[in-house]
């Protein structure tokens, strides 16, 4: 089902937390330059899937292929060097580091020097002013921007974004999504976990809906209706 040019190809992932199985045979493919929305209810396994792609979580079985090679066993820093970066849920900034230090830490295993500080500050003018402040003193929207900036510092080709709109004002979310479309225009491939279905479907061309650790729906956004997605979301009419 995956075209040869897929940048990311995930096959049959099983992921456990101890005895609890979070993912059951999950497969998905993301084309180079594409944007995939990953939706689903709380606990459906979206964060687990992103963390497994980023290397923070090891699958029991299944494979993660990236840019044509198997990275299933690679530790996070190697995946980052190859161009996979994750913006974790809840931002997870280093609170005692300054904004700039957070971004510099993000460049620790950078894939290239395509994203120097100047380019990041040009992309996020709102955090340039705060570069010497501790990350923990920033507003939620600013912190989210720093979290994205930290991932960008690794110069990723594939950017995984986990719930970047969580707890933010709609206006701020709108700004962040504008930045994302600019990143796409610059060639980045995105996987976006988003609670807001409408925003997810607006911003992405493909959609994967997880339900209790399984893929309930995977289709181009253009080919599915909102109602079909909602049915998959709540598990109506599917086994």
């Amino acid at each position: 089902m995956s075209e040869p040019e897929a940048l990311l190809d995930v096959t049959d992932l099983d992921v456990f937390y101890g005895d609890f199985q979070a993912l059951f045979g999950v497969s998905m493919a993301v084309a180079q330059g594409g944007a995939t929305a990953l939706v689903g209810a709380n606990g459906a396994g979206k964060t687990t899937l992103l963390r497994t792609i980023a290397g923070a979580q090891a699958p029991t079985s299944g494979m993660v292929r990236y840019a044509g090679s198997d990275v299933t066993a690679a530790p996070p820093h190697q995946r980052i060097s190859r161009g996979i970066a994750l913006v974790p849920e809840g931002r997870k900034l280093f609170g005692s580091l300054t904004v700039e230090e957070n971004i510099q830490v993000g460049a620790a295993a950078a894939a290239s020097d395509a994203w120097p500080l100047e380019r990041i500050y040009a992309t996020f003018p709102m955090i340039a002013r705060r570069r010497r402040q501790r990350a923990s003193t920033l507003s939620g929207g600013e912190q989210q921007a720093v979290a994205i900036a930290r991932a960008l510092a690794a110069a990723p080709s594939l950017l995984l974004l986990d719930e970047i709109s969580l707890g933010l004002a709609p206006l701020v979310v709108g700004e962040l999504y504008e930045t994302l479309s600019a990143l796409r225009a610059a060639g980045a491939t995105l996987v976006v976990v988003e609670q807001d279905l409408r925003r997810a479907m607006d911003a992405c061309d493909d959609l994967v809906c997880l339900l209790e650790g399984r893929v309930a729906l995977a289709a181009p956004v253009a080919s599915v209706s909102r109602d079909e997605v909602i049915a998959a979301y709540f598990g109506e009419g599917s086994p």
């Binding site: 996070p76 980052i80 974790p88 280093f94 005692s96 580091l97 620790a108």
Partner: protein
């Protein structure tokens, strides 16, 4: 003038305590390991200094260029072989592992070196002193204090200004996220353990030059180090220096009144701080008291 003298001597003694404690503070702040063998490793440093300096027939200071890298390597080795593995098995495993290490070191030293108290050859430095008005200051104590200041300032600078320091602080803040953003955590841990054991060995050399040591001295050293860390605030290097100084001054000033109560007074100060400000005296920001949040990074600011 007696009191001024006591305070100055206490201040200088506090430098030694801080030097002992900074490695403990660092390993806890970054790796979340309370290294119960820290004092014993300091004593190992003293014994190594003894072996090297008597073999070469020189004061122990000349052996430091060999001794400190050896101690750093030992720290790296311990991280790779023991601490790193223990950390994968929850919070209790490192405590048990370092406790076991402590027991092993003490017994091995007793077998290898007997229980006789030893002292190190400090050369002319150990004997000299100078007068400041009516106060006599020992060169050895002054050197110890200044060494502690240099070590702490160096560590502080490295942590706040270098890319290594950024990684250490980020790891201290949030280990999982540090991995996630691409920091290779094991080399960070290994370097931190190396520095911690290196400073412990350096402290051991000063302890052995100032007084005597035997295979069981490590336990006392650990208690003093632990108290300095807790009084100053866990993870805070300058807090550790202040904690050491508070302990030193208390010990010497109370000793001026009655020598029998000197160490007891230090322990009472520790107990009082633990009761009133369990996060330590020098963790000013809101995470004081919340020990997990008060890592190395939280203390730089």
């Amino acid at each position: 003038m007696t009191w001024v003298n006591a305070v100055i001597q206490g201040l200088l003694l506090g430098g030694l305590y801080a030097l002992i404690a900074c490695g403990l503070s660092l390993t806890f702040g970054v790796m979340r390991i309370v290294n119960l063998a820290h004092g014993d490793l300091a004593v190992c440093g003293a014994y190594l200094g003894l072996v090297l300096s008597s073999a070469a027939g020189v004061p122990v200071w000349y052996t430091l260029p060999l001794l400190l890298p050896a101690a750093f390597a030992a720290g790296v080795g311990l991280e790779v072989l023991l601490f790193g593995r223990a950390l994968r098995h929850g919070v209790l495993a490192p405590v048990l592992v370092t406790f076991g290490l402590s027991v092993m070191i003490e017994n091995l030293l007793q077998v290898a070196a007997t229980a006789d108290p030893r002292g190190l050859n400090g050369g002319a430095l150990a004997l000299g002193s100078f007068h400041l008005g009516s106060i006599t200051v020992s060169w050895l104590f002054l050197t110890t204090f200044l060494t502690a200041c240099v070590v702490l300032a160096g560590l502080q600078l490295a942590l706040s200004r270098t890319s290594w320091g950024r990684k250490v602080r980020a790891t201290s803040d949030d280990l999982d996220t540090a991995r996630l953003v691409g920091i290779k955590v094991r080399p960070v841990f290994a370097s931190v353990a190396g520095i911690a054991i290196g400073t412990a060995a350096l402290a051991g050399v000063f302890i052995g030059t100032i007084g005597t040591f035997d295979p069981l001295t490590g336990t006392n050293i650990l208690i003093f180090a632990f108290e300095a860390v807790v009084i100053g605030g866990i993870g805070s290097l300058w807090g550790t220096l202040a904690g050491g100084v508070i302990m030193g001054v208390t010990q010497v000033v109370v000793g001026e009144i009655n020598q029998a109560y000197a160490v007891l007074a230090v322990n009472l100060v520790f107990l009082a701080v633990l009761t009133v400000r369990p996060g330590g005296l020098f963790t000013s920001h809101q995470t004081a008291g919340e020990i997990r949040g008060a890592g190395i990074g939280g203390a730089l600011g």
